[in-house]
């Protein structure tokens, strides 16, 4: 129980204030326990962080895997759009996970650089495959104009990354959603014609 609460609070605080900006005492306090209690469950700060990090990555990868499921009955356009929406939903429903993953993907603490790069590459490959499949489907459907798949995948991934970034710095949801829809419309337009 305490162990899990520690993980949750740690994820949130590490995500919000960074590794160095988060004191174990803060985490402990929010959980309602004294600092040394942390050491009963985790070896040290780094261990707590790594545990949280691994879980966040697993959760995030799970999300990516789920993107490819349940899309069989949809056409390519709806499926691709749905990915953007799901990404948005994921950010909204799991703000802690999202912030944490984004932060440490872009700015890993020095002791994590290598691990992060591997973890990120893994997610990237996973995601690329999902997009690829949908692009191919679209071409087969005849909705996407026949052209290089790589080309279409790259552009969609850029779209996703752009949306990710904008989600975190545009405060207003409406604004974000407008931009998202516009960007996707433009993408689809380019993909078809």
């Amino acid at each position: 129980m305490t162990k899990n609460k520690l993980k949750e609070v740690a994820m949130r605080l590490f995500g919000e204030k960074g590794y160095d900006g988060t004191a174990l005492s803060e985490i402990a306090k929010e959980v309602g326990v004294k600092t040394p209690a942390i050491y009963f469950f985790y070896e040290n700060k780094e261990d707590l962080f790594m545990t949280v990090f691994k879980e966040a990555m697993e959760f995030y990868n799970l999300f990516i895997q789920e993107l490819s499921e349940d899309q069989a009955e949809l056409n390519a356009k709806d499926s691709l759009y749905r990915i953007l929406i799901r990404q948005h939903h994921f950010y909204q429903k799991n703000p802690e996970y999202s912030l944490f993953v984004l932060r440490y993907m872009l700015f890993p603490p020095s002791f994590l650089k290598e691990t992060i790069e591997k973890a990120f590459l893994h997610s990237d490959v996973l995601l690329t495959k999902v997009i690829e499949a949908l692009i191919v489907q679209g071409i087969q459907e005849g909705t996407i104009r026949e052209q290089s798949v790589e080309f279409l995948v790259d552009a969609f991934l850029n779209l996703l990354d752009g949306s990710c970034m904008q989600y975190f710095y545009y405060p207003s949801t409406e604004l974000y959603e407008r931009k998202l829809n516009n960007a996707f419309a433009m993408y689809w337009n380019g993909a078809c014609s």
Copy 2:
């Protein structure tokens, strides 16, 4: 002299390791001076950081302003593409500025949240105007199909943000450039047809 060295080193270290992860002693050491010397030039850590931050924002805004200059003789397509290239160049030529700006735009230390939001909004408005002008030019040229300007601007900004993100997490320049070109091609394709 020392004052400027301090700023440079501080920008780099704050960008790489974060505000809390950077000790004043580290900055001082790299500059070749003892820690208390910092207090001769700056009130305290926050002051040093803010000074660096302001300069970084000014420099970044300068870059954005320059985007609109010297583009008179180019057509809209080349101008837009040139913006992406210049962004890339800016990141490559000023890695410390770039990393710093990205980091604190996405993850400002708590005492900076509001200031950052304002500063960012300012840059955003600036950039939007530049893009808008080029889009209008393109429509007038007849290269861009007549349609909502906002729509085209949003999509281009998304493209810029996506490229920003990818620059920082894709290690290889080649890969980054391929993705950038593909994404722009798709954008232009969508804009025209």
Copy 3:
């Protein structure tokens, strides 16, 4: 069972790393038990230490008492030499006891100073008596020249102490044995002539 294992491990670790340098958790771990288990058998760290200490002293005193036994059939010279040899054997066969006793005789933790002094005095008196008896026997035999017994006893005790010290800081057994034999030969030479 566990209680005894705790004692053994505690003796070894206290001997090797000192009272403050030995954590109860280490002792517990080596025994294969969790730390709180120690409190089932011993009141606290001090109690565990004292128990170990008392046993070590008893064991050591037993050794001293045994020195006087089974020597009836030997002449004085052989008996005295045998004491040195036995001391050596004791150190070799009971390295943990020896180290522990030596350490806390010379450097008792503050809460033990008085107890230790008494315990030590007791052993000293015991040992002195044993030596005295053998010296007297030697004089009666006529092998030791007639002279002050105290004088001969003091010199022999010094020999014993010197050997003790050297045992613990000379790494090589050969070297130690050579030195021991030479020192005893010199003693006997002085005692006879």
Copy 4:
């Protein structure tokens, strides 16, 4: 100033209570300074300890070197006896140095084992040379009976070690001196005849 006071107090406390039994806060308090001040002069606890250790060894080796000086005009017997006396004086005049050296020669903290062994070997060689010279002198004088020098040296070193040990555990000076004199008399007796 503070730096030296720290060294002095550290030597005394480390000698009395051991490395693990001595808190930096105690040392700081006795010096009249707050704990972090220590870190201005020494890297960490180990560094402070090592600094003290090196100085103690140098001082001790100096003492050993001085043993050989100014003895030219004395005969061998007086010179040897003087060594015992000087050892005694050294212990009395420099109780902190003596206790410290003895403690860490016999019970070095784990991180010091190797360093200590080397340092000790060095002192041992130094001392052996001094004694050897005097023994040879004694034989040349004709006061010491002609016999193996090694034999005489070993016995004298044993005498020194025994005296060292006894100094630290016999509380009374008188008792210690009686024992010392008796042991030396016996040694000389054996050496001559």
